[in-house]
């Protein structure tokens, strides 16, 4: 699949905002376009993961797996990305990501990103800036929401954990569905 620099800019404006046309073309070289079908599992919660995915077309559903049941946090569509924590710090995945329908994702492996860092440090730096800002926002929002939950809990003297609504809401921030 051929992707132009302009298409990359239009599909991922936040990620490519400070990139020149040439830089966008370089980035495209490091991405692996993959068609996905409905129910394809791209990332498994708790399992080692060494790549992230930019959503080119279609939607991805994000699920937190608990012992007793799964919690669907929400879904992301074109222009969004998932799994960037793995690129920044390889380790177990924080959530399961499943394709909701047929689509296309652009995979960026940790190996590709390391290579990008060595050969094109400025582009890698621009990407890290965007990812870091996103992670920082998610951490702050998750913390704030948790404190709000605890505060409400103290006032009501009742734990609403069985409803799991607060878990879902924190999950939205943790996984980046809601900033």
């Amino acid at each position: 699949m051929d992707i132009s620099a302009d298409q990359m800019r239009d599909r991922f404006p936040q990620l490519t905002r400070h990139m020149s046309r040439d830089q966008r073309l370089v980035l495209i070289e490091y991405l692996d376009a993959r068609p996905v079908s409905a129910d394809d599992r791209l990332i498994q919660d708790g399992q080692p993961v060494d790549e992230m995915f930019l959503v080119w077309a279609g939607r991805l559903t994000i699920v937190l797996n608990f012992d007793q049941q799964d919690l669907i946090v929400g879904s992301v569509g074109p222009g969004a990305w998932v799994g960037e924590t793995a690129v920044m710090d390889p380790g177990p995945a924080c959530a399961t990501v499943v394709s909701a329908d047929d689509g296309v994702v652009l995979a960026l492996t940790t190996e590709s990103f390391s290579s990008l860092e060595k050969k094109h440090p400025v582009i890698a730096s621009l990407i890290l800036q965007v990812f870091s800002k996103g992670l920082a926002s998610r951490l702050r929002a998750s913390n704030q929401l948790l404190l709000d939950v605890l505060s409400q809990d103290e006032q009501r003297n009742a734990v609403s954990i069985r409803e799991r609504d607060w878990v879902r809401r924190i999950g939205e921030h943790l996984t980046g569905i809601r900033d």
Partner: protein, 165 residues
């Protein structure tokens, strides 16, 4: 007193930094020792620096809404950064950071952080990677803590588990 260079060489997070990178950091950072209870940053105040702990511990606290006092969110140790979230996003501090016992920190003002990017791009990228890695680890830690809370059916367990790492 050990130099910043000597201290950085003992911190695992800096193990893959080369000599010239460490030298650039030594020039950009300012090293100070603070006594117990020192407030490095206050929740709600404008952010102007980030900090690297060289020795000692720092508590991260947030004000409670429902009652007086603070909730202890996290405890940072040698080799960890704090103050990065607000500096990265140009926001006010979302938490208060307080020294626990004597603490030696290296501080990097925002202006020096930006200068590092302008003048030493590869070094700045390496440091940026360090920041991103810590953010990713903190997020993963929060995720684990959330699961612990669900298992114990107690939202308060999220914070206590998060603190434990």
């Amino acid at each position: 007193m050990a130099t910043l260079m000597q201290l950085l060489q003992t911190i695992p997070q800096f193990a893959d930094f080369n000599q010239s990178e460490l030298t650039a950091f030594e020039k950009a950072f300012r090293v100070d020792i603070f006594s117990d209870g020192h407030v490095f940053m206050n929740e709600g105040e404008h952010a102007d620096s980030m900090y690297l702990i060289l020795e000692g511990d720092v508590e991260i606290r947030r004000r409670r809404k429902s009652k007086a006092g603070y909730a202890l969110i996290d405890r940072k140790h040698a080799g960890e950064l704090f103050g990065i979230i607000s500096l990265i996003n140009s926001e006010k501090h979302g938490a208060t950071a307080i020294a626990v016992g004597s603490v030696q920190v290296a501080s990097l003002p925002q202006s020096a952080f930006e200068l590092l990017f302008d003048t030493h791009a590869p070094i700045a990228l390496h440091f940026q990677r360090l920041i991103a890695r810590q953010l990713a680890r903190d997020l993963r830690r929060f995720n684990r803590a959330l699961r612990a809370a669900v298992q114990t059916e107690d939202p308060r367990a999220t914070i206590s588990t998060y603190r434990q790492g």
